[in-house]
Each structure stands twice: as C-alpha cells, then as structure tokens.
Symmetry: C2
C-alpha cells in the first residue's frame, strides 16, 4: 500500500481499529483521489475517530499501479474498501450499512430525515448532465436544485443539514458540493450564486472542519478526474464504430487532361 | 509482433526483404495506427515493392502492449523502425536516408524540387495550431497554405507534385492531407474548400492508389490519435500545478445566529 495515514485515535485502547482504503489521485499516487464515496466514508469514520469510538487508519492505493498485495487480496475491486477486524467490505452499500450497524458510534450518524434524504439524492446526477451537455438548461436545473438546498438550510437555521452536528447526509452532500464548485467552474464556468447565502454559510462551516479538509482532494485532482472520464468516454465512442475511410471527393474530377499520359 | 502483412514482392528472388515496423491503432491493436511517419515510409517502400526492387514486410506493433521480443530488441523506441538485412534503423531521418541511399530503387523516389520541398514543409504544424487554438485565424492560415499547394498543382498540371509519378514528397504530403481532412472536420469543422479543384484532383488520384489505401489508418484511428494527445496534454497541465484547495467563500458569513450554541 502506497501510503498510510494514521488518523485520530489509538489502536491500543479499547476501541477497534477500522481501516479504510481509498483511491489515490490520478496525478500523484501519494495524494488522495477525487472519489466521492471514498471521501464520504472517510468523513463518516473521521467523525467517529474524533469521538474516540474507533481508531481510523486510511490507506491510499494508486489504482494505476496497485501494489502486489492489494491485487492479491482484492483483484479488480476498486476502493473504497473498509476493513474491520480482518473482514473486508467491498461494496458501497455494505460499507454504509456496516458503519451504521457495526462500527461503534456509527448509528448516531445515521439520522432519520426523509426531507433531507430526498432533497440531496439526485443532486450529483445534475452535475454530470451539466458536464456532458454543457447547455444553459442543465445548468439552470442544477442551480434550481442548489437553491432548494439553500432554502432548507435557511428555513431550518441549523449549522448542518439535520441539526448543529454533522450526520451521514452532510458527509454525502459536501464532497458533491465541492465537485460541483470546482468542476462546474472549470468545465462550464458554472458558479454557485453568491445569493445562496445559507448554502455558502454551510460550506464555510465545512471548510473549517478537519473531517472535510483532511479527506478533500485537491482541485486539480477533481478536475483531472472528470478529464480522464471524458477522454475514456470519447475513446469508447470510436471504439464502438466500424472503421471507415474518408476517400470521397466533394467535386467532379474532370480528369481528361491528366489521365491519358 | 502482433500482425504481419506480407506485401508485394517475394522474399525468394534476388530482391532484398525490407521490414517496416509501424505503430498499431490505439483502438484496435490489429489495425494500422495514425502515425504520419509510419505511413510515409510505408508508402515509399510500397512503391518500391510494386516496382519489384524489394520485397516488403510490414509489421504492426501495439505500443500499449508490445510483445516481449519487441521490448527486448527495441526497448522504448517507437516505430517506425526499418529492418534491412538484420540491421535496425530507429530514427526517422536515418530511415529516410537509408531508403534513399541503400534500398534498391529508393534514389528514384528522392526527386530534387526545392519549390515543392519548401511548399509542403510547414503544412502540418498549421493543423496542430488549428486543433490547439480552435480559432478562425489559424483555420484561415491553414486554408491559405492549402490554397498555395492547390495553386502549384494547377500551374504544373501534373498528377502528382513533381510529375506524373509519385515521389517522396507525395508520400510525405498525402498522409498529412488526410489528417487535416479527417481531424480538421471532426474537431473544428474545418473543410478543404471544394474550390481547390487541383488539390481535390490530387487527392482523388491518391485514393485510387494501393500505396495510399493500404497504408492509410481508419478515420476513427486518426480522430482517436488526437483525442489521446489532447487528454495527455490536459492531464499534464494539472500534473505541473501545485495542488490547491478551493475553500474560499464569495460572501461574508454573518454567523452570529449560528455559532454560539
């Protein structure tokens, strides 16, 4: 494994050690990558480590050249991977379930809030549409969705989505807001309006939190993540086509002067 | 080596066998790739094989997974590579020189024509500028250059650049014209004007020639070649930057209501 970050908490107390394997940056294999689910679970577990209910170890794996022991253990599985007491959990839904049901303190993160759950669930797909279509209609839809989140935060007046402490929804939302902010600006000059004051206040508080700043990829890694996705998609397009050879001519060739030598 | 194409000529006559190693397509390792110098020397040698002064063997190597014997022999060298009587020639200028000086019949391809030489030498760099800058000024410069070539062909009234038979300049120009046509159209909607009738007549004759059609990559391979170049260049841009983290806020946070719980 390329890099190990020992986070808060100690392994030699009563608290269990949880290991989270995350994807490395595609630019520099020693940096954290722009993987949304990796950051989400990193934040969940970081909060629990701060509360000293667990000790957290975060391992970064460069998927462009995974170390031999990673390939032996996990073959083609991509991070995030959670390892608890020798048990590796490979699927995102199972990782979330495991944090909620089996990691000490985890159940406190999983607040019931149907309004918030349904409000944030389709936000990210709107960014993807903006990046693919690059038209004002899709940007307007993303802006409208952010406006609804701004509205909820204003109405509730709380620091975070469900109250004044962080919960699983905040760990889900904030990495996606950061991708919207950085990639939206870079690729289509999309900006979160300054008039969304409650949303900006929310992000401001997040930027002060270790759980966010320790888990957040660099802007360049976020941008590069989408560039590579686009390049692969563009490549796929040609891969699926039957090879063609442009040899047609747009004009009549009056060849009488030149062919009969 | 992934694929071997036995071209015209036989190995068991008096004529020497020349092997040309060319880059494979980045889409399908069994297809020819969009490598301009590979196609240029392929055409030169194809013409000589048609004249039966040599026998030509063309080998396609997938550089994404070169076969072990290729790596052993040539390490990081990229095709084109010419092999003549056990001697491997690795550099483009030396390959050209070798075809001219040492391959039977080769000297006939290398016609002296300063006007043509200087007319075609900077054409390709104008396509690169069009693809990078994507502005009308660069497109106009490319169009003006093509217009000068059209003018020369019209004035001379010959089928090819220096006469009614192909020479080294035709093998240099035509692969580049094809890239201009296919990539120009795809990336920036650049079209060679139909009014360039002599240029189109020239291309028409080329499209009838085995030396061109046998060596020409598919449109998709040409397009993909530039897409991968752009993706690598885009990636490089982020690689050179110091990682930054966008955490500034565009508004003043009036936090008096929310921070003192």
């Amino acid at each position: 494994m390329s890099d190990e970050i020992a986070e808060n908490g100690t392994a030699n107390g009563d608290v269990p050690e949880i290991e989270l394997i995350i994807k490395a940056s595609t630019i520099d294999g020693r940096r954290k990558g722009a993987c949304l689910f990796c950051q989400e679970y990193f934040m969940d577990l970081y909060l629990l480590a701060e509360l000293k209910t667990i000790s957290l170890k975060v391992t970064t794996v460069d998927m462009q050249k995974p170390p031999p022991d990673f390939r032996t253990n996990f073959e083609a599985t991509h991070p995030p991977i959670l390892i608890d007491n020798g048990l590796a959990i490979l699927e995102n839904e199972k990782i979330e379930r495991h944090i909620m049901k089996s990691v000490p303190g985890g159940h406190n993160l999983f607040v019931q809030d149907k309004e918030v759950a349904s409000l944030i669930e389709n936000l990210y797909s709107k960014l993807k549409l903006v990046l693919v279509r690059k038209d004002e209609q899709k940007s307007a839809a993303l802006r409208a969705h952010l406006s609804r989140i701004d509205g909820l935060l204003e109405r509730r007046g709380t620091r975070f989505l469900t109250g004044d402490t962080m919960c699983c929804f905040d760990c889900e939302l904030m990495p996606r807001l950061q991708h919207i902010r950085v990639a939206g600006k870079y690729f289509v000059d999309f900006e979160i309006p300054a008039s969304f004051r409650s949303l900006w206040r929310y992000m401001y508080h997040m930027y002060q939190l270790d759980a966010f700043t320790q888990s957040c990829p660099a802007d360049q890694d976020i941008i590069n993540h989408y560039k590579l996705q686009q390049a692969l998609k563009m490549k796929k397009h040609e891969e699926l086509e039957t090879p063609t050879f442009t040899t047609s001519i747009p004009v009549d060739i009056n060849d009488s002067n030149n062919t009969e030598e």
